[in-house]
Symmetry: C2
Subunit: 191 residues, 2 copies
DNA sequence: TTTCATAGAATGAATATTCATTCTTGTTTA
DNA sequence: TAAACAAGAATGAATATTCATTCTATGAAA
């Protein structure tokens, strides 16, 4: 087994256990067991628990944003871009329950706040498609004149809550309902 | 000091510490210290840690719903009722940062899922004003025909996210912005 | 009024457990 | 053979809960 294999096993095991049981329900011993490695081996690949948690996040985040960027309708109207993103988020996380749960855990932990803070304050750097959408929407005056953070809240919050409800069995999101959700979010931000 | 005083001291100390440091950042010893009681005393009033956490939630929840029910415009149009609730939530949690943070912690923990499950499945029992609003909206066809859980998601999620952003300093919610937020949520659910 | 007895409230040191991290020893690879 | 890798036992710190003991308030007895 190659070096990267083992590293991946650890990442996967940890992601699954954190998703299923929360950060505090998954001790390192359990992670190592599930990954099929010794407890000490984890520390050959990750300095400590926190680093492991952050590493999982960046790995998942990259995978997720790559998915969103696939077939992204660059240059098309703001509304169309918004629908691409909204439905893309739903599609992705409906198919990936564990990644979704990991994400939820992460963003409601101290780690998550840090990340969000960087995201919202560092306008420089990373080329974020949602941020770009906001700026374009403002420029062409197709969305309400509201602060960027609020734009995120209105546009994204119901989507995540709805996906959560789907996974918890409160609703069943099919294509039609997905359309309804994104369309409703659009109604809340469009002028 | 009366018996209820001491119980209240414990509830308050625990609520504050849980809000500030999360459930896992506040050991019982710290709670007892802050409450000004012995470590063992907590266990005279609460069977164990979990019971304490649940008890805080029900206490806060009662307080919160009572606030929402004050001057509730019974019998008025659905839109007006919705604005009362939406702005009521914002007002309340802007003024009560600690209760808000406790709430967030709670609802993103295993305890929270349990509570929400009961809420959405037990249609009998508690007389919930948001539920009533949903049914009335359906009846008069002033809101979109969507599942109840999704109604919650669209109507409430951005409000909570926005309040969180306010407390984290990303936006500043004044009266005007509060109106904008609730109005935007309304746009997403109205027909 | 003062003294004593009692209930039960309160305490916090002691206990038992859990868990991240390190260390020692053995194994594989180059 | 030397160097890197892996395993899992050992360590020590943290922490929820318990429980033997102390304290306090009330009221009866002297």
């Amino acid at each position: 087994m190659s070096k990267t294999d083992k590293r991946n096993d650890i990442l996967n095991a940890a992601m699954t256990l954190f998703a299923e049981q929360g950060f505090h329900g998954a001790p390192m011993a359990q992670i190592s067991e599930r990954a099929g490695v010794g407890a000490g081996t984890i520390y050959r690949y990750f300095k400590n628990r926190d680093v492991l948690i952050m590493e999982i996040h960046t790995t998942l985040f990259d995978k997720f944003t790559n998915h969103l960027k696939e077939r992204y309708p660059h240059g098309r109207p703001v509304r169309e871009c918004f629908f691409h993103i909204g439905k893309g988020i739903i599609d992705y996380f409906i198919k990936q329950p564990l990644e979704f749960r990991y994400n939820e855990q992460f963003h409601h932990s101290p780690y998550g706040l840090e990340v969000r803070r960087n995201k919202l304050t560092n306008t420089t750097g990373e080329h974020d498609i949602v941020l770009e959408l906001y700026e374009k929407g403002m420029e062409y005056q197709v969305i309400k004149p509201i602060p960027m953070a609020l734009f995120f809240d209105l546009a994204i919050a119901p989507i995540f809550w709805a996906v959560r409800d789907h996974h918890q069995g409160f609703i069943k999101i099919d294509n039609a309902l997905s359309e309804t959700i994104v369309s409703s979010c659009w109604d809340s931000i469009r002028i």
